[in-house]
Structure formats: structure tokens, C-alpha cells
């Protein structure tokens, strides 16, 4: 038991369940407001974006701190992102459109923000499906190439948000800025910056 509690994975797992638990508690207490379906749609969408950003920050954080073991939590963060993306998609198909295939097909073709969001969700599926150790071994170098799709998914996710708001772009632009920063930190210049910061402030570990 004590060993289990010392495992950071357990804590991260619990933390990742917080957005779902919050929705359940609010739903049970009538706290989802006048338009509960809109609340759930926005909430699951927001947490998908946050999940993408957190997952994409693992590598820069690893370079900044020199803690290689951080990569061990990346898969769980990625799978939780896919979990919230799925909830977001199911909320749209079930609660919002109530399984109306004609309306959904028309939406996906006609509404650019739905098209983009749907594309991002579809692109996440192969990433989730190939997240196992066995698939990593089987795909070898191609696994990494495939998983670079997550950059595209994150960009599509931010555009999806940007195109759906009526007027106030503040929130989508914040996600866009965070994503831009995380991408810059992957460029050679950004990697050098992270390493020089580490050598200056983080003492070498023996």
C-alpha cells in the first residue's frame, strides 16, 4: 500500500480523473448551469487541449531538468488526453446531436470548426492504438514518426477552438501561445536554450 502511494503514477492517474469527477459532482448537484450540454462540451474540450499541452511539455521539461524518468508518465498523459477527446466527441454525437447521422455528416462537411475538430480526433486514434510497448517495439523508428502527428493534432485543436468562438479570442490565443512556446522549445535553438538553462541552474546529479 505504502509502495503504491509512493508511485507518482498513482498520483498522476488520480489527478487526471479530476476533470471527470468534477463533471460528475456538478452534474449530480445541478451545478452545470442553464445549458448543461454546452458546459460538458466546453469542459471536455478544454481538458483535451490542456492534456495535449501537458503531454507536449514532458520533453521540454525533461531537457530542462535532466530528469529522463519524466518520459515514463507521457503515455498515461497522452491516453488521458485521448480519453477526454473521446468524451468530447461522444458529448457532441450523443448529447448535442443525439445520433442524428445526417446532421452530424452535414456538420462535419459544412462547418470548418467541426471538420478540423473531427480530423484532430481521428488522428488521435492511431496514436492511442499504438501506445503499447509491443506496438512501440513492432514499429521501431516508424513509431516516433507516427507519433509526431500529435503536433498536428494540437495545432488543429487550437484552430478548432479559435474558429468556434463568437468574438472573444483571448482563450484560444492563450492555448495558441503555449503551443507555440512548446514547439519553439523543440527547435535546435530551443533545445540549446533549455540545456544552457539547466547547466546554469540545475546542479548535476551523481
Amino acid at each position: 500500500m505504502a509502495a503504491t502511494l509512493r508511485n507518482p503514477k498513482v498520483w498522476i492517474f488520480g489527478l487526471c480523473l479530476f476533470p471527470l469527477a468534477r463533471l460528475i459532482v456538478l452534474g449530480g448537484s445541478g451545478g452545470l448551469g442553464a445549458n448543461p450540454i454546452e458546459f460538458i462540451t466546453h469542459s471536455t474540450g478544454t481538458w483535451t487541449l490542456i492534456g495535449l499541452m501537458v503531454t507536449l511539455s514532458v520533453t521540454p521539461l525533461r531537457r530542462l531538468t535532466g530528469r529522463a524518468e519524466l518520459v515514463r508518465y507521457r503515455r498515461m498523459l497522452g491516453l488521458f488526453t485521448f480519453f477526454y477527446a473521446s468524451l468530447h466527441f461522444v458529448t457532441y454525437v450523443w448529447l448535442d446531436q443525439f445520433f442524428d447521422p445526417a446532421a452530424i455528416a452535414k456538420d462535419i462537411i459544412k462547418r470548418p470548426f467541426i471538420t478540423i475538430g473531427f480530423a484532430a480526433f481521428v488522428l488521435l486514434i492511431p496514436l492511442a492504438a499504438t501506445s503499447t510497448h509491443a506496438m512501440m517495439r513492432r514499429l521501431g523508428r516508424r513509431w516516433q514518426q507516427l507519433h509526431r502527428l500529435v503536433y498536428l493534432v494540437a495545432i488543429l485543436g487550437v484552430i478548432h477552438y479559435m474558429w468556434l468562438v463568437k468574438k472573444d479570442l483571448t482563450q484560444p490565443l492563450i492555448y495558441g501561445a503555449v503551443l507555440a512556446l512548446l514547439m519553439i522549445m523543440r527547435l535546435p535553438w530551443g533545445v540549446m536554450l533549455l540545456q544552457s538553462v539547466r547547466s546554469r541552474f540545475v546542479p548535476a546529479r551523481f
Binding site: 445549458n35 459544412k110 462547418r111 470548418p112 463568437k166
Partner: protein, 312 residues
């Protein structure tokens, strides 16, 4: 013109429980209110106070009314922030007394009304209207007010008056959302003269029998039930009669998405989303959006011969 839509269900049959509760509260406070009524005073300027002497009107709906809580906590009023809960959270800083409304422009009798004089301009009546937001949700709200034509008639517009422009208060100290440049303040809306004169067009000073809450556009707002909600300007300080079509706040912000007319129309989509259906607040299933929000028999003739895809 026959406005009443006959139905099997009497309005009294569908009164939601919160109205009953309000009635009980009303009974408890009846002494104080009766004293006010005898003196002919408007009981209290503050939101939540009962409005006295409201006439029942023939403008009724069989639709179930939206709950008072939903109608006062889920609002679009960018002057107090762009989130739906922002107006209820931030509108406390709005001072509705003293307040004046200036009627000016192409009129023979321009005048600046004090809000308390305006409340007595015409008998107050209750009208239950559908409200359809351009975002795809809708409500059913019992407004209290009088037709806009009551003011127009007294102002006596000149032959040059072809449009009416409505301007909302512009004061970032009272309206913190105006510190953000999300729209070009002040908020401006407009109607064509025949739309402004239409008997459905209401100047509302209350809802659910009470003084209008700040987040719903106190102390006085427009209600144009066959148009998308943003046409119904809130917290109005200026009504100006003009010759040229006013440039409204939303037309200035995104001309490709918001036109001058903005009539509810399930066949003309918003460029980014469908307007065919709507979610009535409080309901699970979406419902079909009605042409002119269900007021077509009363307003469609004003747009005869117009291409509504062009004049969206």
C-alpha cells in the same frame, strides 16, 4: 390584428413553481406594496422589486417559461464580460438611478426622459415572448414593458426618419467588460422604422413581474422577438431617429457574419454554424427553429420581396 394564438392550455396551467413561490413572497409583502400602490409610487427601483399595476396582455405563449434562475444567470451582455455567467457576476456595478434616455434626431419633439417618468409613460403589460440567441439556444421570457411605438408617437418623427438607432450606456467604470476591446463601444443597434413601430416591438423594464435585473439590461431594454437576441439592445441611454441605416456594433465587428436585419431564419445559416435547430434552455432535445422565431404571421409582410439570404 389578431395576435392571440388560441390553445387548449391556459397560461395559468403552466405557471412554473418559482412564480408560485414569488406569489407567496408577494403576499407576505403585500402591506408595504399596497401602501406604495395607493400613493401611486413605483415601489423600488432596485432589481428584484415587484412592479405594480402590470396589465395582462394578449401576448401569451403555450410554451413553458424558462426558469427565472436560468434567465438571469445565463446571459450574453458583453459589457460585463464574454462568459455566460459574467453578467450575473459583474452587473452589480451598474447604477440604474439616476438614468436618462434621450430621444433625438429626426423628430419634431426631441426629449430626455428620466427613467422614472419613462416607467409611467404608458401602462405596463406582461408579454411572454420566445427569445432566440444567434448562438443556437432559446428561452421563453415573460417581459414587462410597453410597445416602443408609445415613445415614437410622442416624439413625432419627421419624414426623414427611416431608421431608429439604439445606444447602450458607455461607462467602463460601471461596465467592466468595456475595458476590453472585444466590441467597439458603445453598443449600437438599429431597426427600420416599420420594425420599430411594429406592435410586437417592446421596451422592457421588467421580467417575471419584477424590475429588470441588471444582467438582463436594466433599467430599460429593447425586445424584438422575431430577431436574434443581440438585436434587443440593453441598458439604453439614447434612441436616435436617422435617415441612413445605422452601423450596428456586430456589423462593425464581423460584417460577414452579422447583418442589419438578423431575423431568426432556420434557412439562412450563420457562416460558421447551422441555424436550423436550437436548444431551448431546460430541454434535452433540440427543437426546430421557427421562421421569424414563430412570429411570421405578424412580421413576414414587412420583408415581402426581400432576399433574406442577402439581407441576413
Amino acid at each position: 390584428m389578431l395576435i392571440r394564438k388560441p390553445g387548449d392550455i391556459l397560461p395559468s396551467d403552466i405557471t412554473p413553481p418559482e412564480i408560485y413561490r414569488e406569489r407567496r413572497r408577494f403576499m407576505r409583502g403585500i402591506g408595504a406594496l399596497a401602501a406604495g400602490a395607493v400613493l401611486g409610487a413605483v415601489p423600488d427601483a432596485q432589481a428584484g422589486a415587484k412592479l405594480a399595476g402590470i396589465r395582462a396582455s394578449t401576448y401569451r405563449l403555450d410554451d413553458e417559461k424558462t426558469s427565472f434562475k436560468d434567465a438571469t444567470t445565463y446571459n450574453n451582455f458583453y459589457e460585463f464580460g464574454t462568459g455566460k455567467a459574467d453578467p450575473a457576476a459583474n452587473a452589480g456595478s451598474l447604477k440604474t438611478r439616476p438614468w436618462t434616455v434621450t430621444v433625438e434626431g429626426e423628430v419634431s419633439h426631441p426629449k430626455t426622459y428620466d427613467i422614472d417618468a419613462l416607467l409611467k409613460l404608458a401602462p405596463l403589460e406582461e408579454r411572454v415572448y420566445r427569445l432566440r440567441c444567434v448562438e443556437g439556444w432559446s428561452m421563453v421570457i415573460p417581459w414587462v414593458g410597453f410597445p416602443l411605438h408609445e415613445i415614437i408617437r410622442r416624439a413625432a418623427p419627421t419624414g426623414n426618419a427611416r431608421y431608429v438607432e439604439f445606444v447602450t450606456l458607455n461607462d467602463p467604470r460601471q461596465m467592466p467588460g468595456q475595458r476590453s476591446r472585444v466590441l467597439d463601444w458603445p453598443y449600437v443597434e438599429g431597426l427600420r422604422m416599420d420594425e420599430a413601430m411594429h406592435p410586437l416591438t417592446l421596451l422592457a423594464v421588467g421580467m417575471y413581474g419584477e424590475v429588470l435585473p441588471n444582467q438582463n439590461g436594466a433599467p430599460i431594454r429593447l425586445v424584438v422577438p422575431w430577431k436574434y437576441g443581440f438585436k434587443s439592445a440593453k441598458s439604453i441611454v439614447r434612441i436616435r431617429f436617422v435617415e441612413k441605416q445605422p452601423l450596428t456594433a456586430w456589423m462593425r465587428a464581423t460584417p460577414s457574419e452579422y447583418g442589419f436585419y438578423s431575423n431568426v431564419n432556420p434557412e439562412v445559416d450563420h457562416p460558421r454554424w447551422s441555424q436550423a435547430r436550437e436548444r431551448r434552455i431546460g430541454e434535452f432535445f433540440k427543437r426546430e427553429t421557427l421562421m421569424f422565431n414563430g412570429y411570421g404571421s405578424q412580421v413576414a409582410q414587412m420583408y415581402r420581396g426581400m432576399d433574406l439570404k442577402k439581407y441576413f
